[in-house]
């Protein structure tokens, strides 16, 4: 499903990844470990489409496509999901609003009808329950004032709202580190 071959990447003049090879088949779980600063977040950002990293060599094939040629949102529509090590805050935008926009953006591009308010609420409530999160979190601004553990729990709720084929979860612990 995912094949990374001899991936080299740099930021500005600084080389960061120097020849990564990784093959992930459907259903497999891989843990990428390494010392601080070894490039784990960088790899994850490249897979999600962050353009500050320049790929200088190698390739990433995802479901028969050249992943690196796709825009970040196109990757999301095809089922790539990245969680952030340091989630960003978005002032004035409530979780529930972002979540609905995200779910429906993905659905639209997959040729599915948008979820109506009621259907959407049922879906998120179910996901919140799994993570034992209070519904009040939905009405707070995206990541604003969330504790580390709450951010993590929220990210699981989010990532369970549409189906994905490739998930890259940074430090996915409920306990904040």
């Amino acid at each position: 499903m995912l094949t990374i071959q001899n991936l080299h990447a740099r930021v500005g003049e600084t080389p960061i990844l120097k020849g990564i090879n990784l093959e992930v088949k459907a259903g497999e779980v891989h843990a990428i470990m390494g010392p601080n600063g070894s490039g784990k977040s960088t790899l994850s950002s490249i897979l999600a489409g962050r353009d500050e990293y320049e790929v200088t060599e190698g390739s990433v094939i995802y479901q028969d496509d050249n992943l690196l040629a796709l825009e970040p949102e196109e990757r999301a529509w095809r089922g790539v999901f990245l969680s952030f090590q340091y989630p960003v805050e978005i002032p004035g935008v409530k979780n529930i609003y972002l979540l609905k926009a995200a779910v429906n953006a993905v659905r639209t591009h997959r040729g599915l009808p948008e979820l109506k308010a009621g259907e959407f609420l049922r879906l998120v409530r179910e996901k919140l329950k799994v993570m034992q999160m209070d519904e009040a979190f939905l009405h707070r601004n995206v990541n604003e004032g969330f504790s580390g553990g709450e951010k993590n729990a929220m990210k699981f709720c989010k990532c369970n709202c549409w189906s994905q084929h490739l998930r890259s979860l940074m430090k996915p612990t409920r306990v904040s580190t």
């Binding site: 999600a48 489409g49 962050r50 500050e52 825009e71 970040p72 949102e73 990757r75 999301a76 529509w77 790539v80 999901f81 990245l82 952030f84 989630p87 960003v88 978005i90 002032p91 004035g92 935008v93 972002l98 926009a101 995200a102 953006a105 993905v106 591009h109 601004n141 989010k158």
Partner: protein, 87 residues
């Protein structure tokens, strides 16, 4: 402000005639961060939808702190489309 061709020039100027008054002038601008836009795009939103969401959210936060008559006018101004505004 959106794009790399624009700029803003603010000249903070406060005249005080009452010696006991406490005044502050705040002239700050903040940039829609690449992190925010990138985050929303990885959640499936197009660049334009992402920009709209960040700008609207930011403005809503500010408008809530304005008196009613300003808020109404500001909302109307915000209706101006941001289409094609990504630099």
């Amino acid at each position: 402000m959106i794009g790399d061709q624009c700029g803003a020039h603010t000249f903070p100027y406060v005249e005080v005639q009452e010696p006991s008054a406490q005044l502050e002038h705040e002239a700050t601008t903040s940039k829609v961060s690449d992190d925010q836009l990138f985050y929303l795009r990885t959640r499936g939103m197009t660049e334009e939808d992402a920009l709209n969401m960040v700008v609207n959210g930011f403005c809503k936060d500010v408008f809530q702190k304005l008196p009613m008559e300003f808020a109404v006018e500001a909302e109307a101004l915000l209706g101006i489309t941001l289409e094609g505004a990504v630099g």
